[in-house]
Subunit: 415 residues, 2 copies
């Protein structure tokens, strides 16, 4: 099937899915979870083909992300079942209005339509994304990286068999067969076919989408997250928060990449920080990349030109000293990706300035940036973390995969 043929199928399926009830959707999700478990052997076989082909081609970390096990597939099935249990976001009356007697205007949540996801090598994204799209009433078009394609194909076939078991069209979840760049480009410009495109992957993919897409796109995931330690910060609290944000899971997008320190606390704070996250750490001590003021206080690598604009995703932390909270805000707004930033302070005025002034999806006072997550934010799930401002910002759950329309019922009303 060509990508164009697949897009036509998706568009036809969109008209069909609109008529399916919430209960049937939930049954289908459970059937899809069952089918994943029933097809564990097939999926593992496909996965080992992918791994075979990728050995020596991609890094060990990537191989690990790509690898499935019976437990991981079981986990994917459990994830789909969890999505079935969440409340449906569709058909809620968000606002209503009666400008004339008997003329009722209701703003009602409805699915976006066809949601396409371009992702890389994690096979679990296949079932996660399909479940979230379907639960929110959308047809799902998946396009994964070539190294994970056999796994994704086996997973999608299992999911489709679940759909068919409940009498639904297997076209509600579609996998693009072509894994060359051509298919990504086709999705980006599939006006009239795709209602939302979500790129999940590295900066290159996301930038390509922003630049080339003519369909609506939500940028996700790139996080150059900052923590600003204010003059008035509780030093122990600041150490805990920085250590947690930097070292608890450095490979994720809500991990800290840049530390900004007020000059009046730097002499006391930086040596303690160095002890905490460099000297005292047996495994994975953090490499500090210090600006010209910080390097006068502690030892470390002098920060290079790009260190304040890099998502390290590693045990590396860039450190900058500023004169005050205003300079911190200015620096952060210039260099951040709009994901998550935190201030550690005991001064309400600084906190207020920071929360108002920082132009990011999630702004923290005295807490770690690591909390930016659909589960923690009470969404129950997550399709990605939007770093843009229109439509959805921060963690995207089921509601964010809906739009609304106005449904107006009258009795022959004219204006």
């Amino acid at each position: 099937m060509t990508t164009q043929e697949l897009l036509i199928k998706a568009k036809e399926a969109k008209a069909e899915i609109n008529l399916v009830s919430v209960d049937i959707i939930n049954s289908a999700l459970n059937a899809m979870a069952d089918a994943l478990v029933e097809n564990i052997d097939k999926i593992l076989e496909a996965n080992s083909q992918d791994i075979e082909k990728s050995r020596g081609v991609i890094s060990d970390v990537m191989i690990d992300r790509l690898s499935l096990s019976p437990e991981r597939i079981q986990g994917m099935a459990d994830g789909v079942r969890d999505v079935a249990k969440l409340p449906s976001p569709v058909g809620k009356v968000l606002k209503s209005n009666e400008p004339q007697e008997g003329l009722i205007i209701e703003r009602t949540s409805v699915p976006l339509g066809v949601v396409a996801i371009i992702y890389e090598s994690r096979p679990n994204v296949t079932s996660d994304a399909a479940a979230l799209a379907l639960k929110s009433g959308n047809v799902c078009v998946l396009r994964c990286g070539k190294e994970a394609h056999s796994s994704a194909k086996a997973i999608v076939e299992a999911l489709q068999s679940g759909l068919e078991k409940e009498g639904l069209s297997k076209d509600f979840v579609l996998l693009v067969e072509d894994t060359t760049r051509a298919s990504a480009a086709e999705l980006m410009t599939a006006d009239g076919y795709i209602d939302l495109l979500i790129p999940r992957g590295g900066k290159g993919l996301i930038n390509a989408c922003v630049k080339n897409a003519t369909v609506p796109v939500i940028q996700t995931g790139t996080g150059i997250c900052h923590i600003y330690v204010d003059e008035s910060a509780d030093i122990e609290m600041a150490l805990n928060i920085v250590e947690n944000a930097k070292t608890s899971r450095p490979s994720v997008c809500n991990a800290e990449e840049v530390l900004v320190v007020n000059k009046n606390i730097a002499d006391e704070f930086l040596p303690k920080l160095k002890k905490r996250i460099v000297t005292d750490r047996m495994e994975n001590p953090v490499e500090l990349r210090l600006d010209e003021r910080a390097i006068k206080i502690i030892d470390g690598t002098p920060a290079g030109e790009n260190d304040f604009d890099t998502e390290f995703l590693d045990y590396i932390l860039a450190v900058k000293i500023v004169d005050n909270v205003d300079e911190a805000i200015k620096h952060i707004n210039l260099h951040s990706t709009g994901h998550s930033e935190a201030i550690v302070t005991s001064d309400n005025e600084s906190a207020e300035k920071f929360t108002r002034g920082i132009d990011s999806s999630s702004v923290y006072v005295n807490a770690s940036t690591r909390f930016t997550d659909g589960g923690e934010f009470g969404l129950g799930c997550e399709m990605g973390i939007s770093t843009q401002k229109l439509h959805a910002r921060g963690p995207m759950g089921l509601e964010e995969l809906n739009t609304y329309k106005y449904i107006i019922r009258g009795k022959g009303h004219v204006r």
Copy 2:
């Protein structure tokens, strides 16, 4: 001032406007309204220069749109005062969550930042758009067509004097000086400077924005609106609704352009419709453009290739006959611009199919499409009517000019 210099000023002003209270914004709006009235003579003089230059160059209808009078300027000032009276959309806690004791997560409405509007020749858009942007906490960048530039300049100078009177920066409302295509292109690609671009104008402008813009855009205003007269329709109601939607104000985007009629009611309905909107109308009888089935029932112009894809904005109506509601939905979703569509029916099942199946911002049952309007929908005002699905759909008011961010307050919480 070059466009680039202006964008830098706008970005700086964005940091400033975040710190201004709602009361000051409202006082400034009233001062801006006063300044419009105080500067009536200056504005009229600039306007007469614009008209002088445009005579013979643009149509009389366009000249009329461009022309100001003391009453029209007074009306603009009243509009600005009305906006001051509306509740502020900024700083509302939309959702909150406490995943751990003392860790409070609040989804809070915040301004988008810098909102740019590209529009054509109506001078009143200048003050309307500036007032709505400012009220919703945004810096406003205006770029009008060259035929209205002198008027817009005089209006913006008056608005800026109002801002300064309240001690605010005049950079909260900025007018792009360059009226060539280059400046429009610059705005479309001003990544990092413009948070939302709203094109208000013809199809050409909107398509250019969609195709070329790398900044976030909301498409507005193009309306190829359909009315479907179902087999079960009350014929008198259908006649009233079609007449109202087509003839009450054909130049606006919520006017009907295409009539879709069920074949089982067409023999009775179409002759009555012809009498009502063609034969009996003394002024401006409607020209019917009939498909091959309709032309067998009544006289009219045979519909040409493009008649079902044209926003006539005139006393012209394309007419198509379909077999059933499903065919109507299919035709409409293929040819509509996603603005407003209506069904006239007395059958609940058809109504339900139609409201679920039609993929437009506003879907009517037994009412005229002419109600799609910010005022009628209870928004109190309107920045345009979005025909896209992300962020805002249908009439956009103050809330739609905001985004949200998560503000998270903890006591040293780590994950």
